[in-house]
Symmetry: C2
Subunit: 463 residues, 2 copies
């Protein structure tokens, strides 16, 4: 006889208590494999519970495979291998691995100007979208992005970057890393990617993450060095012609033409144009995108709203040449879109109503002022052995070349001791090049005037 | 003398017109490499414009590399290689490649029950979040996901799946495909992945997209076949113990123990538990997750809100064992989070306030009814040669085994002609297995009663 005592006060249904009790006895071996359980009626009588309760408990045990039922013969305990004893998972208590770092001044991160985010407008638009749409917000939708948004982006690219492109070629994704993951999928394993050195370190990091082959190609005053690109054997090159990070170089028209000729001369060659910074040119009109001169369909254009609107708006996009689009559809037809519909609608409206460009004009002015002020503070400071300063006419960083013997490592350590976080040009190099030593890279986008002033004063103290 | 005529009515600044004119002449070869341009003063006089206008135009041309200035000598046209003539990109006008398909009844897609989305509640929560938060919504934030949401998910997993896990091990991502892309990054190229056949086809598709090696492993009534798994040489296996798709199998406790023993017996082995459907079990209590018995840290748990809330809420998550978490941090520290902060806050509140579980209870009831009705309609129809029907006790699909000689292909074609879209079990097989022929897979989650009735009637007509 199997008799169990049930907790009267338990909030669990009675059948669950019986199920747990039997399960425990099976796992502990008190009930053994092949053993016959009492019939439902017998079990109900022995425990003073209803037959339905027993049936439900037995049913759950059958579903999970603890017992089986055999018609007319009854219920039997199944053979269950024990989990062999294993050392418990090493509970290396995972410390909070993400810490917001606590610097007095952080010139290393190029943070968005948070307090300039157009909250009122953004919230208004989100509220509008919420009241105008229902089903559209929750449907699976087009895997390549919301049609409204892709149309607005195509218009915007035409207006602001001289790029003429069908909305069908615009692919929306949750961040540039996400789009890169989709993109590298389109090319064979033998593909060699070229990255500029110095350059944006995240790009080779991404290639490494996918175990892809990449080559460093050096820079000169006009942009990426063509002879090095040719000899690298690369098929695909990543560039930012509008504003190289961190050198600030604008790729000359001559170099652009050479680069297009490089791509056009061989079937499998493509250029990835990372236009991350094109919205922030202050002292002249913006420079047309390389993509705007791409007749042969060799330029893949990539940009993001994370930098202009906010890093929390995870909406980036790429423009694929049509032959790649075809390949993309074949490779990733089964991927669902990775981006919030609500926010896609909101960004589309931001573009459509001109809010986006108004916002850009405002922050452009603010970034420009911040840059001018930073340069001014640097020039005024007599303790920093400045050789030259580059930047200010575009983007959100300046480079400061120093007349010092102090190693970059020491420079960064000493400034860190003062609460000032910064990087050096050498941090952006994927191969050692002494000519890039002794150059600080200062990102200034979200630093207030008072912080800048004090940070530069502290920097002066380290020499 | 260079004399240009300017459009008075143009809305462009005068300097831009001059810049465009000079640029055109340089690109066309009218102005040749090395040629000296008129001085600013001369150019201004010749064209009756101000010196500043000329200066601005020259400056833009210098920035873009069309001309250079040489101190005291003047301005000179740069040498610019022409873009060699290339065939225009084949303008295979990209037809709209995403079409919402127009079926009378679609049993193939497992669409979310759109019209049951708790709009009012969702909008209320989004509005609340909008009014309560500012900066938090636009900051870059934790790359692994919002802390509030990860804490709520950890609590939810404990309550509903018996999984005890630190919020630090919960990683948020924009969709399961995104998390998979991160996940496969953690393992070496030599890794062999095992997938169940039949099984969810997206998984081998994803492995293919990343050029990874995978092996099919067959199923029996208790779940994945252990001897095949052993002989496959796989290190990592993807399973859905709670409810196999599309067979509907619940992995027995005996098989679960064997599977855990398989993983525990070798350093590099892991189990990916895809718990995609665990919220929808109707006729018994839910079955504990495999992860809940994982003492050795060998189970990676994956789930999503896209299926329970809406596919447009692109919030999925995975729970990593601690040793993998460490590797994850090293590999992907530079990835930013891919998910909307606004929606992460909203889902966190949905969980915290119990709205999510209330919503689940509601749609669980609706799915159950839809399933019962579909089974009833199938049983009533005398024209469909049904051998057996499986499903209904869980999930949002049933399988219908047929007594017919009609090939699966013909079956699908004939039903498509009637406007009824469906798939067969053989579509889910990664190797041919005749025993899975002649079985329809019918997803029913978003089909209204009237549509079901008519669709089943039409299905009867094809035999």
């Amino acid at each position: 006889m199997l008799k169990y005592s049930f907790e009267k006060a338990s909030r669990k249904p009675l059948y669950e208590e019986l199920y747990e009790a039997l399960k425990g006895d099976i796992l502990s071996g008190r009930l053994q494999a092949g053993q016959k359980l009492p019939s439902k009626r017998q079990m109900a009588e022995d425990n003073d519970i209803s037959i339905t309760t027993v049936l439900n408990a037995y049913q759950q045990l059958i579903t999970e495979g603890y017992i089986s039922s055999s018609e007319k013969r009854g219920y039997f305990v199944e053979e269950i291998q024990q989990i062999e004893p294993v050392p418990e998972s090493p509970h290396t208590f995972v410390e909070k691995y993400y810490k917001e770092e606590d610097w007095f001044a952080d010139f290393e991160s190029n943070n968005f100007l948070y307090n300039r985010f157009p909250f009122a407008m953004w919230k208004k638009v989100i509220r509008e979208i919420l009241s105008e749409y229902d089903l559209e917000l929750v449907r699976r939708g087009n895997p390549f992005g919301l049609e409204e948004l892709r149309t607005q982006i195509a218009d915007f690219l035409y207006r602001s970057r001289g790029i003429s492109v069908s909305p069908e070629c615009v692919i929306i994704g949750a961040g540039v890393e996400y789009l890169y993951a989709r993109l590298v999928n389109l090319f064979s394993d033998e593909t060699i990617y070229a990255v500029e050195t110095p350059g944006y370190r995240k790009i080779p990091d991404i290639y490494d993450a996918y175990d892809l082959q990449w080559q460093s190609v050096g820079m000169d005053a006009q942009g990426i060095r063509m002879h090095e690109l040719f000899s690298s054997g690369a098929n695909i090159v990543h560039v930012s012609p509008e504003h190289h990070y961190p050198l600030g170089t604008v790729m000359s028209v001559a170099r652009r033409h050479q680069l297009l000729n490089w791509a056009n001369s061989n079937e499998g060659r493509y250029i990835i144009e990372d236009d991350y910074d094109c919205e922030f040119r202050y002292q002249s009109k913006s420079i047309p995108a390389l993509k705007s001169r791409d007749r042969a369909g060799r330029v893949i254009y990539v940009n993001t709203f994370s930098k202009t609107l906010s890093p929390a708006v995870r909406i980036s996009y790429m423009v694929l040449p049509e032959q790649l689009l075809q390949r993309y559809i074949e490779h990733t037809h089964f991927f669902t879109n990775s981006t919030s519909s609500l926010e896609q609608y909101a960004v589309a409206r931001f573009l459509e109503k001109g809010y986006f460009e108004r916002h850009l004009n405002r922050i452009r002015k603010q970034y420009r002022q911040k840059g001018e002020q930073l340069i001014h503070l640097l020039q005024e400071n007599k303790n920093i052995p400045i050789r030259s300063i580059r930047g200010g006419e575009s983007g959100t960083h300046v480079t400061v070349s120093l007349d010092t013997n102090m190693s970059d490592r020491e420079l960064k350590e000493r400034s860190a001791e003062k609460g000032v976080h910064l990087s050096c040009l050498s941090d952006f190099c994927t191969r050692p090049e002494p000519r890039y030593d002794h150059v600080m890279v200062l990102n200034f986008s979200d630093m207030e005037e008072e912080t800048q002033r004090e940070a530069i004063r502290r920097l002066g103290d380290i020499f």
